[in-house]
Subunit: 497 residues, 2 copies
């Protein structure tokens, strides 16, 4: 290995560790921070953000990359991946003037506070200028990066390299065409009214159960932990992954499935090559791929009959009283309840995709200029009616519900639905490759699936884009058909439609 | 305020925040870190230590100080304090070559690992070279700082500015002369055998009780928290103070009094002027002063009759079963049990001072060259016999028991005993100034004492040295007599000697 390559890797290590410290400060803020200590944490994180930015935009990285790019033929295949991806990361940071970064950070903070005020007040008009300014910032950023003609593609590429509004649009149209009638069939089913509420699940026992489940699925608690936070999330890289959840006695499935979801993210991080965490060889292949891992464990695995065949006895042992009068079939139906809601984060896995398609269509129109910021609520409500059959009664359950735009995170929403598609396509392939999976699950064995994911997905880091990796593993380009087939199989059967 | 002064303060803020982040990483390591994540934390902390060192030794600080020192007459009294103390801090960091810092850090790590090996093996011979090397490093460091002729004074001054081996020696001789006979009287008392063990205290209820007690004493949980760690400690500044404790059902007084002790440290930090945490105006006046605050709340307050008069009903409510057959007098005796032990950290507040005097005498002889490292065990055992009447049966209960020397922390031990002296002298003054204290305590009111400490001690930050501050508050130079009087009053009465 050349001295220049070693320099590059050392610099990437430094940036990676600073990022990981900043991540830990953010985790601690959500999990541990005393209520009146927020000012201190704000100052600590501002300094760390500056140091992280300095390290990631260190001119020595740019110099090393230029040298290595000129001698590409001397580099191994792995080294070429590192140089290719590190160049992308470096330009993303280094091409933004410090002024611009400060302006965006300051505006994000102001917009977030505006959102926390405007959402409960249903006051879209006061929030609109903050979105407009973020839209302007996003376009300026795209121009600075050389994407002036395709600003929305630039936003998407930040989260999911290789995807464009065009590719996503094609995938989502086909998905929509199949999904809307399926949703209509399910929501018309009388089975919908048979879903029994689960109430009175002691929080301590919930914590015991979800720990047992996530550990058995394969999350490694020797390099991770789970704590309570206001919103579930997963922070950290595989060397130290912190999951969070929240508990309510009358929402036992919320904490359980959000924990399995976050553990899915965590198992992906834990499966990335540990020695390479600081370089693209050991980093995830975009948010859609990340989401595919969390969704597969949560939905395809976690909500399946086979898995509950294994876990149900223990569930009844812990929650016998609360489960009186709830049969195995009732439980399976509750775990797979499909019910329309205006709120994306409360949505079941069938409706969820429609919530995302709505946001994607809105964002596209915003960036093309076809839709003015002031007209967002009307567009939102009309699409909601078109896709899900009803209009939100107010903006806090409509256009104001999500935090994302307050941080300028346009182009992020599609990842969630793409993740569902990737999960379903990988899952179909895993079932073909490993016909014994259902038997495994029913016996409480998950190692075979995890090993398959480690080998086929995790081990590759950012070597392949998500699109290329899906095609490599499944032999076909990404398509919504496996997702539609999976939803049809599980839900049409369950709802007898 | 001049632009130069503003620059200085901004630089000090930066260094302070980096230090606070490093502190949080250390806290998280003890409290949260998953077992296999230690390597990552090591790398994170190494980078942060480097950044902290860079920030604290930033040449811009030195330049600003030089400019400000030349225009001292234009500075306010507060600004003069900042410049005086910041100069001291800056030189301590900036006068050490990076090579030396690295060598010391590397040796400390090696010595710590040697200590964890040698202590359980009773293998002093293998550990001795590590102490010898630390002694050499300490002398070199003192020389680099311009204290070549007084290396032990330099070590002391790092922890407790203003103290020297000479002043401490005088104080300790007088203390020893009074303490040794008192200890002999107490340990000869038949009351000693009446101490009843406290067993079977459920850990959950212990956590409830100590939280109630520390909150009532005045620790502000809106800017702090308490968690479980292998060893009790207090980390952070007043904007976010993290206490730790540990629980065992058969050691209820250990977790309770260590928590009160750490909360005492925490209340000092919380009492330092919040806006000035980054400058010496809002920082503590040395380890002895810090220890005086923790000891006063733990001992003078926490072990008093008046305080237990208030808390005992609640204690019995929580631990009724475990306290059956334990009278109020029994409880008071248990809380104030005096029993010889070879282990400093298990020692009662009477014997504790003898453990420190022993270490101080040893360290003095080591630095003067009178004692060779190889002869440490013999010297330790002989002093143990002289001061406490018996020799440790092995080195792990003797010279190998403490972690301090493995980190090169010579001159630190005296702080503990000086803290006891300061606590007693301040306490005597507080009682004179506030005759209603006992009545307050019996009613569960502690605000008057805390306000007195805030006004007389905390508010001053590093404006005065600990010695000067004690004299300012009590009208007399620091003396062991208040400590002897306090111990005599409490223990001679209790043990009827």
């Amino acid at each position: 290995m050349s001295a220049t390559y070693d320099t590059l890797v050392a610099k990437l290590h430094r940036a990676h560790h600073l990022r990981s410290i900043n991540g830990l400060l953010g985790w601690d803020e959500q999990v541990n921070l005393p209520p009146d200590s927020a000012d201190l944490r704000g100052e600590q994180m501002a300094i760390m953000a500056e140091l992280e930015h300095q390290a990631a935009s260190d001119p020595a990285i740019g110099d090393a990359l230029t040298t290595l790019e000129q001698q590409r033929e001397t580099l191994s295949a792995d080294q070429q991946v590192v140089v290719r991806e590190a160049r992308k990361d470096f330009d993303r940071v280094a091409l933004l003037p410090a002024d611009f970064v400060t302006e965006k950070a300051r505006h994000s903070s102001a917009a977030y506070h505006a959102w926390t005020r405007c959402k409960p007040a249903n006051d879209f008009a006061s929030y609109a200028p903050f979105i407009a300014k973020h839209l302007d910032l996003a376009k300026r950023e795209a121009a600075l990066q050389g994407w002036a003609d395709r600003p929305y593609d630039y936003m998407i590429d930040q989260h999911d390299p290789g995807f464009t509004a065009g590719t996503i649009g094609t995938l989502f149209s086909e998905l929509k065409a199949g999904l809307v009638p399926l949703v209509q069939r399910i929501t018309a089913s009388p089975r919908q009214r048979e879903v029994k509420p689960l109430r009175g699940f002691p929080v301590e026992a919930q914590a015991v159960f979800l720990r047992e489940v996530t550990e058995k699925l394969g999350f490694n608690y020797r390099r991770g932990r789970i704590d309570v936070a206001p919103h579930p999330f997963c922070e950290g890289s595989g060397a130290d992954v912190r999951l969070t959840t929240r508990y309510a006695p009358d929402e036992p499935l919320d904490s359980l499935f959000s924990s399995i979801h976050e553990a899915g993210h965590g198992m992906y991080e834990q499966g990335l090559p540990l020695a390479d965490h600081a370089t693209p060889l050991g980093q995830h292949a975009g948010m859609a791929m990340h989401e595919s891992q969390s969704r597969m464990w949560e939905n395809q695995v976690g909500r399946s009959r086979a898995v509950w065949h294994h876990f149900e006895p223990r569930y009844r042992e812990l929650f016998g009283t609360a489960l009186e009068g709830v049969s195995s079939d009732d439980l399976h139906l509750a775990v797979n309840a499909v019910q329309p809601t205006f709120i994306r984060v409360d949505s079941d896995e069938v409706h969820y995709n429609l919530h995302i398609i709505l946001r994607f269509e809105i964002e596209q129109r915003l960036f093309s200029g076809e839709l003015a910021v002031a007209d967002l609520p009307d567009a939102w409500n009309a699409l909601s009616e078109e896709l899900m059959g009803s209009r939100p009664p107010d903006d806090q359950r409509g256009v104001l519900q999500d935090v994302h735009w307050s941080g300028g995170a346009f182009g992020y929403f599609p990842s969630y639905c793409l993740g569902n598609m990737i999960a379903a396509q990988l899952w179909a392939q895993a079932q073909r490759d490993l016909p014994e999976l259902k038997t495994d699950f029913a016996r409480g064995e998950f190692g075979r699936l995890l090993t398959w994911l480690r080998t086929n997905v995790h081990a590759h880091g950012r070597r392949y884009s998500a699109l290329a990796l899906v095609e490599r593993v499944t032999g076909s380009p990404l398509s919504p058909r496996p997702l539609l087939a999976y939803l049809e199989e599980r839900y049409a059967t369950l709802y007898r439609v």
